[in-house]
């Protein structure tokens, strides 16, 4: 378990000083994956370095399993660092060491005997599924394999906390998914507390139990992933939704942006809404996925209805939330969506 209490980091002194982290508070329980997102320059990497104690917080504390690590004297800091495993972007492997030798690094630093190192490294290599690559050098590994080495190295000293700063950034979607699955598996098996920092919303939806959004050094919104995704009033929830292009509605039809706003939206809701309104519904674009067993997502619909209120009322009946004129909504959401006719999602007749 890890908690941050009023964590503040200021670089520089006096007039030139910049507060990069401003009184952050959050708590991540054992076995929980907590994602931190935010725009570039928000302070995510600074947060990572305060958590793994590479940087000292200016004030506030980082508490791991009840012990305040941030106030330790310099000498004991090194020992404290060993309780937090860090996975870095693009793995950062030593180029002249094999995968095994890279994983052995923290054990060597600790002064573990060669015999024990060999046994532990063998265990870790198998754990991350890299058996055949044990003696390969970093240049012989794919991005995903290198990242697995980085994960194994971070786990070498059996830390309670795993910290990942942009650990999947730069990997292709399939590789990202496999790394994410590995981390989820490890979390379950080792009861790890995971702080996962990324700017990729797709990855957050795949991995997180809870999410916080960091902006200009402050947490502007936080909550369980499912709650955020099913709350149409949440800017973070909206930002987490994938935004794709959608087809234009027919003349006379309004373009509706509809989000799943509850945990129990029926699977055949398009047909039901169409039947209730007694008008056909054109599906112009959609993105729906299951997160923690709950359907979440959004759809863009073309609806020719008498009144907006009627549509909204019917949508609400099925746990959905809708806004007419998706074009406006898309822009208000902060993510520009080009109005290209999408070939991938053809307009469908909703009602038979």
């Amino acid at each position: 378990m890890i908690s941050l209490l009023e964590l503040t980091k200021t670089y520089g002194r006096g007039a030139d000083s910049v507060t990069v982290l401003d009184r952050l508070n959050f708590e991540v329980g054992a076995g929980e994956i907590f994602a931190v997102t935010g725009p570039s320059g928000a302070g995510k990497s600074t947060l990572a370095q305060c958590i793994n104690l590479l940087e000292r917080p200016t004030s506030g504390s980082v508490v791991v399993n009840g012990e305040d690590l941030s106030s330790l004297p310099e000498k004991r800091l090194r020992a404290a660092r060993r309780r937090i495993g860090t996975v870095f972007q693009s793995a950062s492997l030593l180029s002249r060491r094999t995968a095994s030798e890279n994983i052995a690094l923290p054990l060597e630093y600790l002064g573990v005997t060669p015999g024990e190192i060999k046994a532990r490294v063998g265990e870790l290599i198998d754990r991350v599924g890299l058996g055949p690559k044990a003696h390969s050098y970093p240049f012989q590994l794919s991005g995903g394999q290198a990242q697995r080495v980085g994960i194994a190295r971070a786990l070498a000293l059996r830390p309670a906390i795993l910290l990942a700063d942009e650990a999947t950034s730069g990997l292709d979607p399939d590789t990202t998914s496999s790394v994410v699955e590995l981390l989820k598996q490890l979390r379950t098996d080792l009861d790890l507390t995971v702080v996962f920092i990324t700017h990729e919303m797709d990855t957050v939806r795949q991995i997180a139990d809870s999410v916080a959004r960091l902006e200009r050094g402050q947490i502007v919104e936080t909550g369980p992933l499912v709650d955020l995704l099913t709350d149409h009033g949440s800017p973070l929830g909206r930002a987490l939704q994938p935004r794709r292009g959608f087809a234009a509605a027919d003349d006379g039809a309004a373009t509706w942006y509809v989000t799943y706003d509850s945990a129990d939206v029926p699977g055949d809701w398009i047909q039901r809404v169409s039947a209730d309104l007694a008008v056909p519904i054109h599906l112009l674009g959609a993105s729906v996925e299951t997160v923690h067993g709950i359907n979440t997502g959004s759809a863009t619909l073309g609806i020719t209805a008498r009144s907006d209120e009627a549509v909204q009322a019917v949508l609400a009946r099925y746990g959905l939330s809708g806004t007419p004129d998706a074009r406006r909504e898309a822009t208000a959401g902060g993510v520009p969506v080009s109005l290209v006719r999408s070939g991938a999602v053809p307009a469908l007749e909703g009602a038979a």
């Binding site: 590479l54 860090t86 180029s95 002249r96 050098y137």
Partner: protein, 239 residues
């Protein structure tokens, strides 16, 4: 050997016979190798830690000491900026204090070592600077002490660059040894100056040139091989 003819110093063009060249050149070559060898040993032992220290007292290093960095950097720059001949001449009192003489191999080793240390310190510093900062962060996060980080992460990653620099350094030291030859330090440079230059002995001159070119070429090839050997990517992708 020289005779006064009509008031001018006449140097006879009596080149050393080819058959006698080995007897003249081999001991001289041995002296050069000895001189460069001693100097390189001193340079490695002193210059390596000094370069690592210089890198880490710099801003962003493991133990920043900006003022120490400025002072060290300044001393090294001065050492690097003096032409070797001038450095050698200007520290004669110091050399005599250390070795009790100002001619011969021992006397040459002192200025060569000083110039060499300044040279190599910069090479090491430069090599360490090219190691990505993320590598050092990884090592710190892995619980390494400063000494461990310097050895395995910084220096370990910089080994190919250091060896590449070392090759350049050895070649520079061979050149310095020839310059030191002018103060009677012996070696191939001394032979080149006394026979080839002062006596216009073209045979000796040509022989020393060939030997120096061959030596430098050999050092370069050996250095390149070594760099290749310590760089996994180059070593394994040769086939």
């Amino acid at each position: 050997m020289s005779a006064v003819v009509g008031g001018a110093i006449y140097v006879p063009r009596a080149d050393v016979p080819v058959a006698e060249l080995p007897a003249l050149l081999l001991p001289a070559y041995g002296e050069t190798v000895l001189m460069v060898g001693i100097v390189m040993a001193i340079v490695l032992v002193v210059g390596t830690p000094l370069g690592v220290l210089l890198h880490n007292v710099a801003p962003g290093g493991l133990f920043e000491r900006p003022s120490l960095h400025a002072v060290l950097g300044w001393i090294i720059s001065v050492g690097r900026s003096l032409p070797f001949l001038i450095l050698m001449a200007s520290i004669v009192p110091f050399t005599r204090f250390i070795t009790g003489t100002n001619i011969g191999i021992a006397a040459a080793v002192v200025p060569m070592s000083l110039a060499g240390i300044a040279f190599f310190t910069r090479i090491v510093e430069n090599a360490l600077r090219s190691v990505p900062p993320s590598i050092v962060r990884v090592a710190r996060a892995s619980g390494g002490s400063n000494l461990q980080i310097m050895r395995s992460a910084q220096f370990g990653e910089a080994v190919p660059a250091v060896l590449g620099g070392l090759t350049i350094q050895v070649i520079a030291m061979i050149e310095y040894s020839a310059i030191a030859g002018t103060i009677g330090a012996g070696g191939i440079g001394y032979v080149a100056v006394t026979y080839g230059y002062q006596r216009f002995d073209n045979t000796v001159m040509l022989a020393t040139i060939l030997i120096l070119v061959a030596t430098v070429a050999f050092v370069q090839v050996a250095g390149d091989r070594l760099v290749r050997w310590v760089t996994p990517q180059k070593r394994l992708q040769r086939a």
